[in-house]
Symmetry: C2
Subunit: 79 residues, 2 copies
């Protein structure tokens, strides 16, 4: 059965997120001084149809290709 | 009160998502032929503290800076 998979990928805490800093600075400058701790991540969505446990398979995709686990963490949602 | 805001940004349907196609091709080639319709989007998270309705303010941020509404759609989650 086809499952809809969402993978959220973020830089690990402690890794400098320059894109997040840029967004934060821009929003602050545009009149929203109350914006803080901005982080920019990736969201990958796809349909998956395959044998085996989807959760385990998608975890393997993340470790192999989707996330750089040295600096990035990921969260998997299967719906 | 500080709110945690998440903004999901995706290319609109019909706009060619080359990054998504690349992810799909790579996963297909790595032994997951059942992966289809991959889309890669952005996920922006930040803390927001400000006057006015947070939903309306974040919508204005998206229209002003975060999303290119010609080719991108966005979804706002405030928690």
């Amino acid at each position: 059965m086809t499952k809809t998979v969402k993978v959220h990928i973020f830089l690990k805490p402690g890794v400098l997120d320059v894109q997040g800093k840029a967004v934060e600075g821009a929003l602050n400058g545009l009149g929203w001084p109350g914006v803080a701790n901005a982080r920019v991540g990736k969201l990958i969505e796809f349909d998956f149809d395959g044998e085996g446990d989807p959760q385990a398979e998608v975890k393997r995709m993340c470790e192999t290709l989707l996330a750089n686990t040295v600096i990035e963490s990921y969260r998997i949602e299967i719906g």
